[in-house]
Amino acid sequence: MEKKLLTKYWHDPNHKMLDGYLKNGGYTAIKKALGMEPDAVIEEAKQSKLRGRGGAGFPAGMKWSFIPKKTDKPKYVVCNADESEPGTFKDREIIHKDPHSLIEGIAICAWAVQSHTAFIYIRGEFTEEAKMLERAIQEAYDHGYLGKGICGTAFDLELILHRGAGAYICGEETGMLESLEGKKGQPRNKPPFPATEGLFQCPTVINNVETLAVMPWIVLNGGAEYAKLGTPDSTGTKLVGISGPVKRPGVYEIEMGMPLMTFINELAGGMIEGKTLGAVIPGGSSTPPLTPAQCEQAKISYESLDKLGSALGTAGIIVLPDDFSVIEAMTVIARFYADESCGQCTPCREGTGWLYKTMKRIYAGKGAAQDLQMLSHISAGMKGRTICALADAAAWPMEGFLRTFPEAFQKAVTPKQAR
């Protein structure tokens, strides 16, 4: 069922410590990489066809290859550990159980793009995780895997852990760069893209925790080997988190392409007693929900979920029982985006608040039939008109909920006596 590349040693409680990690073959990949040409490492990453695991799914090797080879500026690697998409908790597990594979992955990436300074931007609420990473980083420094001349070579690499202050928008890569530079976390206009003008206007690679943590495996086993797993468009394995009324919620590593229902019923143990599947939000709160019928067709892959009008996103599956309150769930989601909009772009700043206030009114039983048209109108007005994707991320679930649960909305805006 599970396909363990990244999670192979997670059962070992010592794996999170350097000793245990080394015993399990840790830091051999970076040594191998340092013996290769940087371009050869990028080539392996490209061949793996690994798509970035932060939610957007951009091919990671391709991203690395965009970093200019000849430049007078320093280059930076930034690991995005601002995991804050509701329903997503896979990066947290990596930090808990396997922090050194992340550090090793960062080192591989830094070698590939020839960067000597890397950052981990970790979300503010991850206080324990920050301590864990801090300890792991110190271990790596103490044993020569970071710092001056790593692994006995002439290659220097500094790794700095930076804690965010608790803003969802700082998970957007350019918002994160702004925050890392000490400014208010507000996404930047693109172009220029971070590969050419990123952190402090220097070429910057930004990768998700999971993307980097799987790199040691790819370097050791070859990109081609990784690409054999999964489906042609979604290669490799994926950490999938599942929450909701299932028997065994948690994070599982599976080969891409697994049927969604197999995942829910077999790995997660199916619904808890007395609950029936009502809907599934497949990839974090920004992705539109799937009906039970759609779930039957769905596979855990980028292309399958795209085809169903949703998205793989961060693969944070939220299972909803059939007796869940559509209106309450949507109100909670709308509140989240209204709270987290950075407030720069007009459609997002005003639209997210408008959606939330409208949902709140409907939830309070004071909605009217025209509110439903308003919700569609607002969502349509927000999409594709802003600097970053937060407006879209707020509009998609709204449209998805309206599309998937029209009766629930209709009922909510019908006066009680008329029902």
């Binding site: 803003a167 928008i169 208010k184 206009n189 209204a338 709270d339 987290e340 909009s341 950075c342 407030g343 720069q344 772009c345 007009t346 459609p347 700043r349 005003e350 639209g351 997210t352 608040g353 408008w354 206030k357 409208t358 009114r361 308003m374 109108h377 349509a380 007005g381 927000m382 594709g384 008109r385 802003t386 600097i387």
Partner: protein, 517 residues
């Protein structure tokens, strides 16, 4: 080197624009106006208001025209249904939390929200929920009042204080629809009032102008600020014969889109209490108001009598035409030396933005027709003093040989009080003429309000006096300018009308040398 250009198509019309031009600018040059709030030509471009979205063929999403440079072959539409819908909807978002208090808002009539609503909106509000409330009527400094509720968060004020004055007073606090503009410290920099100009809505208003007059009653005239040697291009707004407000006018070679706070208040001097409104003669230690013709003849008699023994104090506050006509008069009088100029009154030093330590508007121009000998030295051998505008002779008793003092100026001062003949002259806002700024740029100002009855500019007085000595009587400022242009290289090949809205630099001046290099 010729600038590289690219060909693009805007709304089906082929447009040639310099490479690197932003779509919004290329469109404006082609006469296509794209609505916008956050874009300002002299500030960075955050592309946050999202009003200027345009359709670029081949791009899935609409692109912000304020931050997208033109590219060869681009096909751009600003009039497609997709764009029009986007503009309408973004405007709707902009308006939902705005208080819509236009009837009591001083920006009404020159408000970006109102204007765009007229052009694109015209819908009834669909927003039936409680609005977000923010802090109102905040006195954020001596010159400005902030109403955060009216703010549409375009961030122009933040960028102005970050990028232009570098004083960093403004900031946006909170996020989402609670994002709120605030002054993080007192806004008290010499350029603060520009914030009221660049604010597209009624969030930042100028204390000096607030509630004085509804803007739709205002008439406008282009002029030049007389406050220092910079010569900021301005517009003077006036109502019922009174100047009400001065605003900067764009001139990239001089002041971009800015002017300083002190300059902005200079209109007040036009109607100040110490303004000289009528000619006066001094008899038995008392000043008597007389008709202009009496004062004129009285002065002429003195000039005729002491022609060759006249010491003249010129002024860098008067126009090129004034200075030239004065020089012509002295020439005809065969006065031994030309008028001399005084040093600028002290006040401020040159700053990095606009202000020049020289507080006179026309030193470059006036110097062209003035001598270098000190007025005080000249006075020792003179029997008549002709003082223009400056308070150069407050104590006559130092020069007992002086038989007469003529004062021509705009405001009362000790010199005027001690003068035998006082002739008021018109101020910069009351006649037409030109100033030459420190760069050598000759810029035209125009009459905004009427001068007090019988009060004329200096060039008219000088020219009429000079007629008595056989000189030429000029009929208009343009005529003075024509004569002047043949006399001095600073004005070579220029005509009065040819100065246009932005002025001209003679080929010999530094600025045009720089431009050529």
């Amino acid at each position: 080197m010729a600038q590289e250009t690219v060909k693009i198509t805007i709304n089906g019309k082929e447009v040639v624009a310099p490479k690197g031009t932003l779509i919004i600018e290329a469109a404006a040059q082609a006469g296509v106006e794209i609505p916008h709030y956050c874009y300002h030509p002299h500030l960075s471009r955050p592309a946050v208001c999202r009003m200027c979205l345009v359709d670029v063929e081949g791009q899935r999403k609409l692109q912000p025209s304020c931050s997208t440079p033109v590219q060869s072959g681009q096909v751009i539409r600003t009039d497609s249904p997709k764009v029009q819908e986007a503009v309408r909807e973004v405007l709707e978002f902009t308006l939902i939390n705005h208080p819509l208090d236009c009837p009591v808002c001083d920006q009404a009539g020159e408000c970006g929200l109102q204007n765009n609503y007229q052009d694109y909106g015209l819908y009834n509000t669909k927003f039936t929920l409680p609005k977000v409330h923010k802090a109102k009527v905040q006195k954020i400094g001596p010159t400005l009042t902030l109403d955060a509720e009216r703010c549409i968060l375009c961030s122009r004020c933040v960028r102005f204080t970050d990028e232009i004055t570098k004083t960093h007073e403004m900031g946006i606090m909170q996020r989402g629809d609670h994002a709120e503009i605030r002054a993080v410290k007192e806004v008290n920099n010499p350029y603060s009032t520009n914030l009221a100009d660049i604010c597209p809505v009624g969030a930042l208003t100028q204390n000096d102008f607030r509630f004085k007059v509804r803007v739709w009653y205002l008439k406008h005239e282009q002029s030049i600020c007389p406050g220092c040697a910079r010569g900021c291009n301005i517009v003077v707004d006036h109502y019922r014969g009174e100047a009400q407000r001065m605003r900067p006018r764009n001139n990239n070679a001089v002041n971009q889109s800015w002017m300083c706070d002190d300059g902005r208040l200079l209109y007040k001097a036009i109607r100040s209490e110490d303004r000289l409104n009528a000619p006066m003669l001094r008899k038995d230690g008392k000043r008597l108001a007389v008709t202009p013709s009496v004062a004129f003849s009285e002065a002429l008699q003195l000039l005729e009598k002491h022609a060759k023994h006249t010491a003249t104090q010129g002024s860098a506050f008067v126009s090129n035409e004034d200075a030239f006509a004065l020089a012509m008069l002295l020439k005809m009088m065969q006065a031994p030396v030309a008028a001399s100029l005084r040093e600028s009154p002290a006040g401020w030093d040159d700053d990095a933005l606009l202000r020049k330590a020289d507080r006179t508007p026309n030193r470059t121009g006036a110097s062209a027709f003035s001598g270098t000998e000190d007025f005080a030295v000249r006075l020792k051998n003179a029997t008549l003093a002709l003082v223009i505008q400056e308070d150069a002779l407050p104590d006559r008793s130092l020069y007992p040989q002086l038989a007469g003092v003529i004062y021509v100026g705009t405001h009362d001062c000790p010199t005027a009080k001690a003068a035998d003949v006082v002739l008021p002259m018109a101020m910069w806002a009351e006649y037409e003429g030109s100033f030459t700024n420190f760069q050598g740029r000759v810029q035209r100002f125009r009459p905004v309000v009427a001068a007090p009855e019988g009060v004329v500019p200096l060039w008219q007085l000088a020219s009429r006096w000079s007629q008595a000595f056989g000189g030429k009587l000029f009929a208009s400022a343009a005529e003075v300018f024509r004569a002047m242009a043949t006399e001095h290289p600073l004005f070579a090949k220029m005509t009065f009308d040819g100065l246009g809205e932005l002025g001209l630099c003679a080929p010999s001046t530094e600025q045009s040398k720089e431009a050529q290099a």
